[in-house]
Symmetry: C2
Subunit: 207 residues, 2 copies
Amino acid sequence: MENKPISENVIQRLPKYYRYLKELCNNQVLRVSSKTISDALHITASQVRQDLSHFGGFGQTGIGYDTEYLKARIQEILGINKVHTAIVIGGGNIGQALISYKGFKEENVFIKAVFDVETSHLSHLLDVDVMPSSRLEEYLEKNPVDIAIISVQKTHAEEMAKRCIACGVKSIWNFAPTDLYFGKSVAVENINMSESLMRLIYKSKDL
Amino acid sequence: MENKPISENVIQRLPKYYRYLKELCNNQVLRVSSKTISDALHITASQVRQDLSHFGGFGQTGIGYDTEYLKARIQEILGINKVHTAIVIGGGNIGQALISYKGFKEENVFIKAVFDVETSHLSHLLDVDVMPSSRLEEYLEKNPVDIAIISVQKTHAEEMAKRCIACGVKSIWNFAPTDLYFGKSVAVENINMSESLMRLIYKSKDL
């Protein structure tokens, strides 16, 4: 079972399982049933069992899943057991919010630097290098990173992502309101807030 | 065909079609083929045709879809042809970024107020009412809104959302790193950045 390719839909749910299992482990809960997971995450119990069967997380009837084992397996599958480094391109409100968010360190992701055309408004940031965008290539040559977080205007998003990719960055986390795509050799996640807002409005139509 | 229920997966894609069609209309493009949409959005052409058939957007062979008609239909289906009002709960970096983001107005969403325990750091905001959280109920009674945008700490997210719901808010847009769920009578969209980051790391594993 372990070598079966994992579908996109399962991947979408894996971080939810991980987050919940981490909570359970933090609270010293040793075992959990698919029913309990189902109730907490609003995923059907049969879907939970099917999803977790993909990576050897077989629950035992009446005993449930071993939370520590399952958490470690999902962590490994997601790749967040390893350290990843990141830079932020664009030091506006979103960029600054991401820099100050403590939760990423829990997933072993460390933001090393922030780039902007103007940098004076970022001088209060102490834990990251504050750099002018003109020095992006120079910086990445000396300090290779895994992830570029794009939080610039829509019109500059693709160009800035491409400059990072040209310097060896393999992962683009995009917050600009445009879907970026660079073929199969670059991992991309687009956080499109406008789209989420539209879905919210759609869901509320008949309430 | 128009009354067939639209599946969750189609709903996920509708905002992408809308955004692309809006771009085409802004550029005075009158017709578009499923192939062109497919290339732009990285969705297969047959999927595009199937999705658009749900709401009467039949393309004609060799002519394609009428962009203005299709945009208007999707806008109507999503419900973004109507004005929606919103408040922001939590005036941190994310909350402020959302307030200053111009794109929401394009979807007819208007942020009316921001609430925080402390408000002095928000006094520079001119287009919204800046209010202490203690006056949330009083405000909502006088100024009913459609959407509450939750950008507080994880530990306060559910409580603040419930206070809004108790005052008649039907839609919760949640940016706190926890999935909120309030049953079928409240629309919820969770923007979970940590989950997106985990998916990004997963995608980059074999690159």
